[in-house]
């Protein structure tokens, strides 16, 4: 390690340099970009519409016409997989983003003000943490769907899924942000800003938040795959999205029923989830090592 010669290299820049050297993480990063591109471009690159039935091709195995075969209603698996990527990735990314906003605001509030505010806010988190997340997910979905705000059933299922996952996943982020803020608050540069007469908002926005970015980015990278998995869990249990909507969890649930005779229906979405999860987890590992100077050169 030692002191670097160049001055003014930010923590983020240092981390980026460390990350670029990590081949596994870089490959995972490109894989994620690829999956995101596929998801975004779904209407243009998928060979068939995701809900179009080809009744002469029901439950066909992989062929030239249908690379990954067709399902029990004769729908093209590749197209369903591509559209599934769209929903699964959207669920992962959007919920991570929402939980980033809620979690950062909440955690920063608790950590910055401390004292009475902190204990009250943390007590709420303790309670939320005591309910198993899958039950919290189910409850939020149940309440939202019974409240009947959105008429369209498909849109309702998707919105309630996004809402439930966002409401559940901000908690761990808030914990981390709070811990980090408590640490950074003690730093002399914050003290310096305070003595220069900086406003509270300015101190938090300019000095605290940029310095806790590392752990937050790392946690977000781990949160995206766990949200994707949670979505597929719920859809697999029949409590999430429903066909003809296509997400990887819906496909897995579909495929599971005919596993022994038509394994391709199960394996295709399963492998897609596995690869995406692996890529996110490996990238998250790489990011953690990159942001943590102590870990450099150890593993």
């Amino acid at each position: 390690m030692g002191a670097s010669k160049t001055t003014g290299r930010s923590l983020q820049h240092e981390a980026w340099i460390a990350l670029r050297k990590n081949k596994v993480a870089m490959v995972s990063g490109f894989l994620i970009i690829f999956v995101c591109a596929v998801a975004l471009l779904a209407p243009w690159i998928s060979p068939y519409p995701f809900d179009e039935q080809y009744l002469d091709q029901v439950l066909a195995g992989p062929s030239e016409r249908h690379w990954f075969g067709t399902d029990s209603l004769g729908r093209d698996m590749l197209s369903r997989l591509i559209y599934g990527a769209r929903i699964s990735m959207a669920v992962g990314v959007i919920t991570a983003f929402v939980s980033l906003i809620i979690g950062t605001a909440y955690g920063a509030l608790a950590g910055w003000f401390g004292g009475w505010t902190d204990s009250a806010l943390m007590r709420i988190i303790d309670i939320l943490d005591s309910i198993p997340s899958i039950i919290l997910l189910i409850l939020v979905k149940l309440v939202f769907e019974a409240a009947d705000i959105i008429g369209n059933p498909e849109l309702k299922a998707l919105t309630s899924m996004l809402l439930a996952l966002s409401l559940v996943s901000w908690v761990s982020l808030a914990r981390v942000v709070r811990g980090q803020v408590l640490q950074v608050k003690q730093m002399s540069y914050v003290e310096a800003a305070r003595s220069m007469g900086a406003s509270q908002l300015r101190m938090v926005a300019q000095h605290i938040l940029p310095n806790i970015l590392g752990p937050v980015i790392v946690l977000l990278t781990f949160q995206i795959p766990s949200n994707i998995l949670a979505e597929s869990f719920l859809s697999f249990l029949g409590l999430g999205l429903q066909p003809p909507y296509s997400s990887w969890g819906v496909l897995a649930n579909d495929g599971w029923r005919s596993m022994s005779s038509y394994p391709h229906l199960m394996i295709t979405p399963g492998v897609a989830i596995f690869v995406a999860m692996l890529a996110f987890n490996l990238l998250g590992d790489g990011l953690r090592d990159a942001f943590d100077p102590q870990m450099r050169g150890r593993a």
Binding site: P132, I134, I135, A146, D148, L237, L278
Partner: protein, 356 residues
């Protein structure tokens, strides 16, 4: 010395109960009482002598408070939901709806319903199911909980049995191919959704080899696939954490001292590294319990295991609100107790931890 004797004895008692249950033998009641006595008595003595009494009482009161908040919130949420459980079926005549509402006391003011519910809850009565006519929630839970607990405990044990040796080996031989390959396996295990592993296991061990049963929950050959599938993710997490913890300990000063004293590798590993690096792993038990709880939903569904999670999923589809409420409380209670026990175990194992 006495502490260690007690620890070993209690562990043996617990292990014997788990083994008996695994092989479907009747568990003798005196054994259960003896184990409970040894566990709680020993823990009580420990808590008292270490001056942890006030901390434990505080934590228990905190747990009761959390459970009360959860019970209240869930109750209010579920009772004030628009649309009732009896909507979904064909439109019922108003007289029948009236009778149903009367039977389940849905016409009374919410505060009275709440009072009733809390009063019954304190006596262990969780109310009547909307779906299963004339069945109490408590009896439904009593019937299915043992299966879920069995599944969860077996999965936890198998995950520790796989994860800890893997992590120690990887950390001890860091940088070697052993390290690399076991971490690759752990990473894959963490990324594999259980509904992908389960069919593969069923195909191989039940269909092809015919050694094990593909579904249901009736004996050792039925238990193995579900418990392994459920244990894989936690095992991967344990392995990775153990490795990180071993690396941390290896770099500490007291290990350097131990090596400088000229102790051989085996002594350093077993006497110093192991004991200190397993404490963070132990503190993972609470979150692991939560993970296993979550995982059990999919596992019980796939293997048609008559457990609580399956009831919860069904009750959501059926809108059986009392059953949702009861299972939610039960799962939260399990999690709260798991976290409490984890913290206490840490306090017992690690004298460095000071509890306020």
């Amino acid at each position: 010395m006495i502490g260690r004797l007690w620890g070993t004895g209690t562990a043996l008692l617990v292990a014997s109960i788990i083994l008996l249950s695994f092989f479907n033998y009747e568990i003798p009641t005196p054994l259960v009482y003896l184990t409970a006595l040894a566990f709680f008595g020993g823990a009580g003595v420990f808590i008292f002598t270490r001056g942890l009494t006030i901390y434990v009482i505080k934590r228990c009161l905190g747990a009761v408070f959390v459970m009360w908040v959860i019970a209240t919130l869930t109750f209010v949420l579920l009772r004030t939901l628009p649309g009732g459980p009896f909507d979904s079926e064909k439109a019922l005549p108003p007289e029948i709806l009236e009778n149903l509402a009367k039977k389940y006391k849905l016409n009374e003011p919410l505060i009275n319903q709440y009072g009733d519910y809390m009063y019954n809850l304190l006596q262990g009565d969780l109310g009547q199911s909307y779906k299963y006519i004339n069945r109490g929630i408590t009896s439904i839970i009593a019937e299915s909980l043992p299966n879920s607990i069995q599944l969860g405990v077996y999965a936890l044990i198998i995950s520790y049995m796989i994860g800890i040796p893997m992590g120690i080996l990887a950390g001890w031989k860091r940088g070697s191919w052993v390290d690399f390959s076991s971490m690759m396996v752990a990473m894959s295990g963490q990324s594999l959704p259980s509904f992908l592993i389960a069919p593969i296991f069923i195909m191989v061990f039940a269909k092809q080899l015919g050694w094990l049963e593909p579904a249901l929950w009736e004996g050792p050959t039925y238990y193995i696939i579900p418990m392994v599938v459920l244990g894989i993710r936690p095992a991967a997490v344990i392995a990775r954490l153990t490795r990180a913890s071993v690396l941390e300990v290896i770099h500490s000063d007291y290990i350097r001292t131990a090596r400088a004293k000229g102790l051989d590798q085996k002594t350093v590993l077993f006497k110093h590294v192991l004991r200190n690096s397993l404490i963070p792993v132990l503190s993972l038990s609470g979150p692991l319990a939560a993970a296993i709880l979550t995982g059990s939903f999919v596992i019980e569904q796939i293997f048609a295991i008559p457990g609580i999670a399956k009831h919860l999923v069904l009750s959501v589809t059926n809108r059986d609100y009392p059953l949702i409420l009861g299972t939610t409380l039960l799962f939260s209670l399990i999690l709260v107790v798991a976290n409490l026990v984890t913290d206490l175990l840490i306090a017992i194992v690690d004298p460095r931890v000071k509890m306020g």
